[in-house]
C-alpha cells in the first residue's frame, strides 16, 4: 500500500512539473522602455561647470507617454538645458529627446534629490524648459538653473580656455495652472509683495524675526517659503 502511495505522489509531482514547464518565464527586462536621443558631444572646456552634477548619478525619467524609467544614470546640463543619460550597455552618453520627457529626477554629488519638470515658459525667453521644482502646492516654486557662458578675466585653471566662464543666472518662477508663470526674485521684499494683505506681511516679518531668518540666498528663501506655506498664508501673483 505504501508503495502505491509513493507511486501516486511521484506521478502527481511529475504532472505538476510538466504543467509548470509548459509556462514560459519571460526575461526580467523583456519589455524595458526605450530612451530616444542623439549622441552627446561635450562642449569645449571653459572655466566653471555647466552641469548640475560632475558625474552621472542615478535618477528616474518620466516620459510623456506615462512610462517611468528608473535607475538610469543621468546628468543635467544647466547651460544647454539638456538631460544626458549614460547607456552602460553600449557605453554611450546620449542626449535624451526633450520632446519625449515629462519630468525627471536625479541626485547631486551631496545626495540631494532634484526633481525637474518640463514646462513651456511664456513671456521673456519663451520655450520648453526643464524647471526644478523647489516647492509643490497650489502655487509651485520653480527654478530654471540657467548658466551663462560669459567672457571673464584670463586667470583660471591651467590648460582650460580662460577667456570664458560659466556663470549662474538662475531664474525663479511662481507657477499656478490658472495663472501661468511669474518671475520672482529670491528676496524678502519680493516674497512679502506676494502676500495677501499688510496683516499677512506683518505676520511674515514677525515669523522671520522669530526664526532669525534672513533671506540672502536660495536656501534661506526656500525656508521662508516653507514658513509661508506652514502658516497657511495665501500667495497672490
Amino acid at each position: 500500500m505504501k508503495r502505491k502511495i509513493w507511486l501516486l505522489v511521484v506521478l502527481l509531482g511529475f504532472l505538476t512539473v510538466s504543467r509548470v514547464a509548459a509556462q514560459e518565464e519571460l526575461p526580467g527586462v523583456w519589455n524595458a522602455p526605450k530612451i530616444k536621443g542623439i549622441r552627446f558631444l561635450p562642449d569645449a572646456t571653459y572655466q566653471g561647470n555647466p552641469f548640475l552634477n560632475d558625474v552621472f548619478t542615478a535618477g528616474e525619467i518620466n516620459l510623456m507617454d506615462g512610462t517611468k524609467i528608473v535607475d538610469v544614470q543621468l546628468k543635467y546640463n544647466n547651460y544647454r538645458d539638456e538631460l544626458i543619460y549614460y547607456n552602460a550597455d553600449i557605453t554611450t552618453q546620449i542626449l535624451v529627446d526633450k520632446i519625449s520627457v515629462s519630468s525627471f529626477s536625479l541626485a547631486d554629488e551631496r545626495g540631494d534629490k532634484h526633481f525637474y519638470i518640463k514646462q513651456t515658459v511664456t513671456g521673456y525667453m519663451p520655450g520648453e524648459r526643464y524647471l526644478e521644482v523647489l516647492s509643490e502646492g497650489d502655487v509651485v516654486l520653480l527654478v530654471h538653473r540657467k548658466v551663462l557662458l560669459l567672457t571673464c578675466p584670463v586667470y583660471g585653471d591651467p590648460g582650460k580656455e580662460k577667456s570664458m566662464s560659466y556663470q549662474e543666472a538662475f531664474n525663479y518662477y511662481l507657477y499656478n495652472s490658472r495663472k501661468g508663470f511669474e518671475l520672482i526674485k529670491p528676496g524678502k521684499n519680493s516674497l512679502l509683495s506676494k502676500l495677501d494683505n499688510s496683516d499677512q506681511q506683518l505676520l511674515l516679518r514677525k515669523i522671520l524675526r522669530k526664526n532669525d531668518l534672513k533671506i540672502t540666498d536660495e536656501v534661506s528663501f526656500l525656508k521662508a517659503w516653507n514658513l509661508v506655506k506652514s502658516n497657511k498664508m495665501v500667495i497672490h501673483y
Binding site: L12, L15, Q23, K34, G37, L41
Partner: protein, 528 residues
C-alpha cells in the same frame, strides 16, 4: 484528484464568466459578448476565440479588461457552415478558460434536413452560479409586436454592495429548445503570472539560417507602418527567444518583423509562435438530433436576417480608438528636415532626388549596388555606416527596394543627420520615406522578413436602439436591448421596444460578485 487533473476539469477554481446576447445566430450576424474575469486577472487583455466543432479557429478577438470585465463583438463571416461552434475566453496568464457553445446557421443553406447535430458532451462542468434574490417587476407575459416594454429590476442591497463592477443587461430572442452549455476547463497559461497582461504578447524564436540553432544577440525589429510609424526591437538571449508586447494598439494592424545579427548585419531566420499550437483540448462532441421546433425557428431567423440585409440595418456602431500621445512623434525623433519632392520638378528615381533635393545625403546606384551616405551634422563628416532607411515606417535593408521611387510616388522624406539612439540601437542618421502609393505588400517575405496582419485590442461597440421612425421598413431585430455595463443599483429601469419578430424573448441580468462568484437572473416573455 488524479482523475480531475487528467480530465481537464477546473474544479474549485475561480473562472471566467462568458455571456452572449443569444445562442442561435445566422452567418453574417454579429455576436455580442460580455466576459467577467477571475480576480487573479488584473486588467490587461483577454482573448475570445471562436472555434468550429472540428477545433479549427475561426476568429480571435482581444478585449481590454476594465473592472474585471470586458465586452466586445464578433462579426460572423457569411460563409460559415451550419453547426455547433465554441467560444473560448482566457487570458495570457489565467489558469482556467471558459468555453461557451452556440449554434450558427449558414444564411444560404440554413439547417440541412438530415444533417446531424453535434453538441459538446456535458461531461465537463460549467461555472458555478450563486442564487440571488434579483426580482423583475412589471414584466408582462405577452407583448405586441412593435410594443413598448418597461420593467424594473430590483437588486438586494447585499448584492449591490457585493457586485464587482457593472452588470450585463440585455433583452433578446431566446430558443427554449436550445440550451447552450458553458464549460470550464483548465488552461495552461503561455506565460507566468508575473509577465503581466498589459497587451498581446507576440513571441517567437530566431535561429541561425546556417546551423538552425537559436541565435544569441540577434536583433528582431517590429515595425507598424503608418503616417507616424511605430517601432520596437528585441535583442535575443541564448535561447533565441523574442517577445513584443503590443500595447495601445486597436483594430486590425499590419506588422513587419525583421531579424538580423547586430554584429555582422546578416539576416536571421524568424519563427513566430503560432497560436494554433496553443489550441485547447476541446470538449468531446456527441451526435444529437436537431429538434423540429428549433429547426422551424432557425429557418425563420435565417429568412428574417436575409430580408433585413436589404435594409442594411446596423445594430452596433464601432467607436474609433482614441489617438494615443505616444504617437506624437516618430521613434527616430523629430526630423531636422522634411522634403516634399512633389513641390519640385519631376525626378525619376531616388538617386536624382538625393542629388537635387537631399542636402548632405548621397544615394548612388553604382553597378546595381545602391549605397547611402549621410553627413553627420554633429561632426561634419560622413557616417561610415548606412543610415536607417524607412519606407512607410518599415526598415529597408535592400536599397534596390527604393531606388526606383521617383518624386511622383513620394509624399515626403524626413531626414535626421544625427547619430540617433533608440534604446541600445544606434542609427547613423535616418531617412524616412513616405510613399502612400507604395504597396508595402510588395516587400518580399523571406526567412528574415515576416509580414503579419493581426487583430489588436478591439475598439468599443455601441448598441444602436430601435429607430424611432421605422414605419416603412420591417423591424427584424432579435436583440431588443444590449447594455453590457450597467451600474449595480437597487432598482434598474429597463425600457425596450419589441420588433416585428414573434417568439420567445428573455430579459437577462448577470454579473460577478467580489468573491468571484457569478450570478444571473432571467425572465421570459412572448411577442405575439
Amino acid at each position: 484528484m488524479l482523475l480531475v487533473a487528467l480530465s481537464g476539469k477546473a474544479q474549485g477554481k475561480e473562472c471566467f464568466g462568458l455571456f452572449t446576447d443569444r445562442d442561435l445566430y445566422t452567418s453574417g450576424e454579429t455576436i455580442l459578448l460580455k466576459a467577467f474575469t477571475p480576480s487573479s486577472v488584473q486588467g490587461g487583455i483577454l482573448t475570445i476565440d471562436l472555434f468550429n466543432a472540428k477545433g479549427e479557429m475561426i476568429t480571435t478577438v482581444p478585449l481590454q479588461i476594465t473592472d474585471h470585465q470586458a465586452d466586445g463583438f464578433i462579426n460572423l463571416n457569411d460563409t460559415l457552415s451550419s453547426g455547433s461552434y465554441l467560444l473560448r475566453v482566457f487570458s495570457q496568464t489565467s489558469v482556467t478558460q471558459t468555453v461557451r457553445e452556440l449554434y450558427i446557421l449558414n444564411r444560404f443553406t440554413g439547417v440541412s434536413e438530415n444533417g446531424p447535430s453535434f453538441r459538446p458532451d456535458g461531461a465537463v462542468e460549467g461555472p458555478d452560479f450563486v442564487s440571488t434574490e434579483i426580482s423583475m417587476a412589471g414584466i408582462e407575459k405577452n407583448y405586441q409586436r412593435r410594443g413598448k416594454g418597461h420593467l424594473s429590476i430590483h437588486l438586494p442591497a447585499s448584492l449591490v454592495a457585493q457586485a464587482e463592477g457593472p452588470l450585463c443587461l440585455y433583452v433578446a430572442q431566446t430558443v427554449p429548445e436550445y440550451h447552450a452549455q458553458t464549460l470550464v476547463l483548465n488552461h495552461k497559461p503561455k506565460f507566468t503570472v508575473n509577465a503581466g497582461n498589459e497587451g498581446i504578447i507576440l513571441s517567437g524564436t530566431v535561429t541561425d539560417p546556417v546551423t538552425a540553432k537559436p541565435f544569441k544577440n540577434g536583433v528582431i525589429t517590429l515595425a507598424v507602418p503608418d503616417s507616424i510609424p511605430r517601432f520596437n526591437y528585441y535583442t535575443t538571449g541564448a535561447n533565441g527567444r523574442f517577445y513584443f508586447q503590443l500595447k495601445d494598439y486597436h483594430g486590425r494592424i499590419s506588422l513587419v518583423l525583421q531579424g538580423y545579427d547586430a554584429l555582422s548585419n546578416r539576416p536571421l531566420k524568424i519563427t513566430l509562435d503560432r497560436k494554433e499550437n496553443l489550441l485547447p483540448a476541446l470538449p468531446p462532441f456527441r451526435n444529437g438530433i436537431f429538434p423540429p421546433e428549433l429547426r422551424k425557428m432557425a429557418a425563420k431567423n435565417v429568412e428574417a436576417f436575409n430580408f433585413g440585409r436589404i435594409f442594411k440595418q446596423q445594430q452596433i456602431t464601432v467607436q474609433m480608438a482614441p489617438i494615443s500621445r505616444t504617437d506624437a512623434y516618430p521613434f527616430y525623433g523629430v526630423p531636422e528636415r522634411v522634403i516634399y519632392p512633389k513641390l519640385f520638378v519631376d525626378l525619376n528615381n531616388f538617386e536624382e532626388i538625393s542629388r537635387e533635393l537631399l542636402q548632405g545625403i548621397k544615394f548612388r546606384d553604382n553597378n546595381h549596388l545602391p549605397t547611402f551616405q549621410i553627413l553627420n551634422a554633429q561632426r561634419n563628416s560622413y557616417f561610415t555606416e548606412q543610415p536607417l532607411v524607412l519606407l512607410n515606417g518599415v526598415p529597408v535593408r535592400n536599397m534596390n527596394d527604393i531606388k526606383d521611387l521617383g518624386s511622383r510616388e513620394i509624399d515626403r522624406i524626413e531626414t535626421s543627420q544625427y547619430e540617433r539612439y533608440f534604446g541600445n540601437l544606434r542609427f547613423s542618421g535616418v531617412v524616412a520615406i513616405y510613399a502612400p502609393k507604395f504597396d508595402y505588400e510588395g516587400l518580399k517575405e523571406s526567412d528574415d522578413l515576416m509580414k503579419l496582419t493581426l487583430d489588436a485590442v478591439q475598439p468599443r461597440a455601441i448598441f444602436n436602439p430601435a429607430p424611432e421612425d421605422q414605419a416603412v421598413e420591417p423591424d427584424l431585430r432579435m436583440l431588443l436591448l444590449w447594455k453590457p455595463s450597467v451600474n449595480p443599483e437597487p432598482t434598474i429601469g429597463v425600457d425596450f421596444q419589441t420588433s416585428d419578430m414573434r417568439g420567445k424573448f428573455k430579459v437577462f441580468i448577470g454579473g460577478k460578485r467580489k468573491d468571484g462568484k457569478l450570478f444571473f437572473n432571467e425572465q421570459f416573455f412572448e411577442v405575439k
